[in-house]
């Protein structure tokens, strides 16, 4: 559940081992639900991580990320398709 009380519309998977900690996604994220983790990945960077709630599935983080395979965005779709 997002801070505004609305249910999540999506989810984002960060590939922590590929992340170089540039922070572009954190700047670009409209609902500000990403941050740099406290821990280090195997490159020695603080990887970006998802707060766990509030993602809208907009996909902007995917487009700003310079790392191929760094970010995966999933969107929640209501079933069945509206008739």
């Amino acid at each position: 559940m997002a801070t505004d009380g609305k249910p999540d519309r999506g989810r984002v998977d960060m590939n922590a081992e590929e992340c170089k900690g540039c922070g572009l996604c954190i700047e670009a994220c409209p609902p500000k639900v990403l941050r740099l983790a406290d821990h280090l990945n195997h490159y020695g960077y603080h990887p970006a991580e998802y707060l766990g709630a509030g993602c809208t599935g907009c996909g902007i983080c995917f487009f700003v990320c310079p790392e191929p395979g760094g970010i995966t965005v999933l969107r929640l779709v209501l079933q069945p398709k509206a008739a």
């Binding site: 249910p7 395979g69 970010i71 999933l74 069945p80 008739a83």
Partner: protein
Amino acid sequence: MPKQLCKGNEAIVKAAVLAGCRAYYGYPITPASEIAEAAALYLPQAGGIFLQAESEVAAINMIFGAASAGVRAMSASSGPGISLMQEGFSYLAGAELPCVVADIMRGGPGLGNIAPEQGDYNQIVKGGGHGNYRTLVLAPASVQEMADLTTLAFDLADEYRNPVVVLADGNIGQVMEPVEFASRAFLPPPPEWAVMGTAETRRNMVTSLILEADVMERHLLKLEAKYQRAQREAVRVECWRTDDADFVLVGYGIVGRVLKAVVELARARGIAVGLLRPITLFPFPVAQIRELSRRAKAFAVVELSNGQLVDDVRLALEGRRPVEFYSRMGGNVPSAEEVLAFVERKFAAQEVLIHG
């Protein structure tokens, strides 16, 4: 009246006696036998008659006789016995005679088994007998409703001069629950159309035989007008958390109780589900279903039969919303978790990969 612990089948008889039923004709069949057993005990005590007929065909025709004489009469059976009674239903409806019959459904077709099912929906709600008639159908979901709806059944039968069926499944018939009975009904004098072997009622005629085409057509239009009036005035339905429901589950009898648990479980997982439980199956809650379709995105019908109730829900919706269907048969009742898995499969938000 104080509450008492009572079996569903027994509650039907106690409520019937309190409603003024003074004649029971029947033939025992599992899972409805306790009704005959209780009737044999309680009806003579109330000054009524219990008679074990040689078959269900005989029983329903004895009801024809009792109802013609203005006596509140009833019977009970299960699938195979009800099939035998269908001719009688047609004659009773044709002659505009009131009566109450309880159908405690078991597995079918044929001898099937003695476990609970809802496979009699079509033969009761759509009418298994010949001709242009309907039976009014009440579907209890608890022992309390077994009693309440039996009381209502006798009133509806008299009001509409038509057979009324209490359609329950083996679960509701066999389960024991606390129940509070209505107080003894005030009985009106025998109806003026009754044939009672007296000089005053000598000119009365109870028959379903009308040879002249125009007179027969007028009779049928009169019956049809009664069924239309029932559709306007007699519909009963329980709506549970439907005010903000995106998805509406539809089920009657024991299924309605399972679905109530499903509503709570699904809502805990963020799926806004509600329950519509028809209490009258004819008249069917068409208007109520259409009203819910203004908000709900989709409907799901759960029944213990092969897609019989779902037909009526589809007809009511006329394609307004998609209708999903889930059933168990042969005496199986789905668990709440099982139906929840179905609801999640059909209605839960699914994650779809958009980037990556």
